[in-house]
């Protein structure tokens, strides 16, 4: 052994730092927050986080309670007058608290987690509204929002109304014999096609409109290979506007793999407002209807 012992001892000193950190980490583990508020005790100043939540509050005629919204809440137009606390997934605790809310009504997925934890700690009531991309999911959202605002009866009425509208929209879709295959394209940045797989709002709306998601085998939004696009054989390309960078129709159709599909050959691209198409809120029945009409034309318009 050439090394002298003091040197060995010294060289381990810096390792103590992380170890100490770890020990401290365990010492200060936060207690699990178990918040199960479902009704706001004070509905005078509500911050609405999530486009469809804001829409539901307006549909219930309860917009008088709102004092703030997030950046995804751009419908109805009147909502734009409310202060914008930022993107629902990148909230800042002080920003939200600066509007002095008595309650925060947030769509599932609002965050980041740390910000939400601080908000919960602030004793401002925080209610998270679940989201499922389905008929039932929309009704559930309406009921949860109504309960939170203490207008259960109003919400139930709206839910029943929505249920009927959705059923009628779905009935039209159900009568379609030849279902179209749809490729939902979220973005085409750098020529890469980001398509909606299962468990996405895009997939949900395609199914409700009586069509088939041309994408199989993955969930979420994923980049698709040219070959997979050709194999998917979509009849229609569905894109959204007013939400992020627009998808250029020309750029889409210039893509050789898309051009080779039935959708490309027929130049069939449908572009709809993002919040309207993917919101899963009060306007979804209309969105389903509009999409179905764009897809099947007179086959569905008669019965609406």
């Amino acid at each position: 052994m050439r090394q002298d012992p003091t040197r060995v001892v010294f060289s381990f000193r810096p390792v103590l730092a992380p170890l100490l950190g770890l020990m401290l980490a365990f010492a200060v583990l936060p207690a699990k927050a178990n918040d199960s508020t479902v009704v706001f005790s004070d509905t005078s100043r509500i911050a609405s986080i999530g486009g469809s939540i804001t829409e539901i509050v307006y549909a219930l005629g309860e917009e008088g309670h709102l004092v703030a919204r997030d950046s995804t809440s751009y419908f109805p137009q009147a909502a734009l007058k409310l202060p914008d606390v930022g993107y629902m997934r990148a909230l800042s605790p002080e920003g939200v608290l600066s509007v002095n809310p008595t309650g925060i009504l947030a769509l599932h997925g609002s965050g980041p987690k740390d910000a939400v934890d601080v908000l919960k700690k602030s004793s401002v009531a925080f209610i998270e509204v679940p989201e499922h991309y389905s008929h039932e999911g929309i009704l559930e959202k309406i009921r949860v929002v109504g309960k939170a605002l203490g207008v259960d009866a109003k919400a139930e009425k709206l839910a029943v109304e929505m249920d009927a509208k959705l059923k009628s929209a779905e009935k039209q879709a159900a009568s379609i014999k030849q279902r179209k295959r749809i490729l939902f394209v979220l973005s085409t940045q750098g020529g890469k096609v980001l398509a909606a797989g299962s468990d996405t709002a895009g997939d949900g709306i395609i199914k409700l409109a009586g069509a088939v998601n041309a994408v199989e085998g993955f969930s979420g939004y994923k980049q698709m290979s040219d070959e997979a696009i050709v194999t998917a054989r979509p009849d229609v390309i569905l894109t959204m506007k007013n939400a992020g960078p627009p998808v250029s129709e020309d750029e889409l159709l210039a893509n050789p793999s898309i051009a080779s599909t039935p959708a490309g050959a027929a130049r069939k691209v449908i572009s709809m407002d993002g919040g309207y198409l993917l919101g899963f809120g009060p306007r979804t029945a209309e969105a389903i209807h509009d999409l179905a009409v764009s897809l099947y034309g007179s086959q569905v318009t008669d019965q609406w």
Partner: protein, 367 residues
């Protein structure tokens, strides 16, 4: 003791032994400390809400009862639980990033070196991304057990393991080759980025957005428990840095010369690397990616006070802390009540500034 005086002599050689310069450096450090105090005060009093830190603290000190109890409680929460931990975290992280940048630049004798270069940041990112993406599936037991600390801890150990691996690769027969370390660092950074890429591919829509925001960096997640976790790590790492300054000065003359001057070069490298990875790993863990502090601050200070690490390291800590606090104040207020990711602010301000430094330096240092 003999070691130190020789190393001290080396430090003086490296800085061309100039008394004026050290007086000037002390004055600059004093001035920067005042600036830091001012930045702390401004950060505490500014924000999206009108909560006044001065009033809250005065009420607390004098025991005065505010007129509106509800509002007072809100302001107290904003000042004590949102702004204070955030400001403290900003000071710690700003200091950690700037000092780490200065130490890396000295260690690698390369003005472009920063902690990102040897893969510390990439390793931390991998740890954090793994928690974000796998936290609900394979790693669910880990995230359940650790709660909100799972991400910082994973990021910290990601950075530390990359560094230790690197050290093991670059060390042969008790000697660490800085060149090997740099090259292996590039390779390991590439590998960790590829692994991160796999995780990003596996991520769902929501996780992808979380990742994007995490990578842009933010101090918004500052809470007292987090300071309890990373604070001691950063402080301990920072505390070792002053002991490195003489060695780094000597190292500027070359490794062999530093060795002949009695600097324990091997030990210096090891301490510097473990210290930097602890400081940076802990910082990246809580704040995500915050660029340019580590590279801009030491460069700026070298222009002002020269390359003597005995002054450069503490000055970097103070200036790094102030700059990050100012960047955070901008991030918090410019689009209030929303908030910008701080990485955007530091990059927008830092990148053009760095170009300016490069252009200025072109005559002196040929990169």
């Amino acid at each position: 003791m003999a070691d130190q005086s020789i190393a001290g002599a080396a430090g003086k050689v490296a800085t061309a032994a100039n008394g004026d310069r050290s007086a000037r450096a002390r004055a600059v450090i004093l001035l920067l400390s005042l600036a830091l105090a001012l930045s702390i005060f401004l950060s505490l009093t500014s924000g999206a809400s009108d909560a006044s830190a001065v009033r809250v603290i005065r009420d607390w000190l004098t025991g005065a009862v505010p007129a509106d109890a509800g509002l007072a409680a809100r302001d107290q929460l904003i000042v004590y639980d949102i702004r204070m931990p955030r400001v403290l975290l900003g000071v710690l992280i700003g200091a950690a990033l700037a000092v780490s940048g200065a130490v890396m630049q000295g260690l690698f004798r390369n003005p472009l070196a920063d902690p990102g270069l040897i893969g510390v940041s990439a390793g931390s990112s991998l740890g954090a991304v793994a928690i974000i993406v796998l936290g609900t599936t394979w790693l669910a037991p880990v995230t359940l057990a650790l709660g909100t600390l799972a991400l910082p801890l994973a990021a910290f150990f990601g950075g530390l393991s990359v560094t230790l691996l690197l050290y093991a690769i670059a060390t042969r027969h008790g000697r660490t080759s800085v060149a090997t370390m740099l090259l292996a660092g590039l390779a390991i950074a590439a590998l960790t980025m590829a692994l991160t890429g796999i995780l990003i591919f596996m991520a769902d829509d929501r996780q992808l957005r979380d990742l994007t925001f995490w990578q842009l960096g933010s101090l918004a997640g500052a809470t007292w428990p987090k300071i309890g976790t990373v604070g001691p790590v950063i402080l301990l790492a920072l505390a070792t840095m002053p002991f490195l300054s003489r060695g780094l000065n000597a190292l500027a003359l070359g490794e062999a010369t530093a060795g002949h001057l009695g600097i324990p070069v091997q030990r210096l490298k090891y301490t510097a690397i473990v210290g930097v990875s602890a400081a940076v790993g802990a910082s990246v863990a809580v704040s995500g990616g915050i660029g340019f502090i580590g590279i801009v601050v030491p460069h700026l200070l070298r222009l002002a006070i020269g390359p003597d690490n005995r002054y450069l390291l503490p000055a970097s800590a103070v200036l790094g802390a102030s700059l990050l606090l100012i960047a955070d104040a901008v991030a918090r207020t410019v689009v209030a009540p929303a908030e910008l990711p701080i990485g955007i602010v530091t990059a927008v301000a830092g990148a053009p500034f760095f170009l300016w430094i490069l252009l200025r330096k072109r005559g002196i240092v040929d990169l």
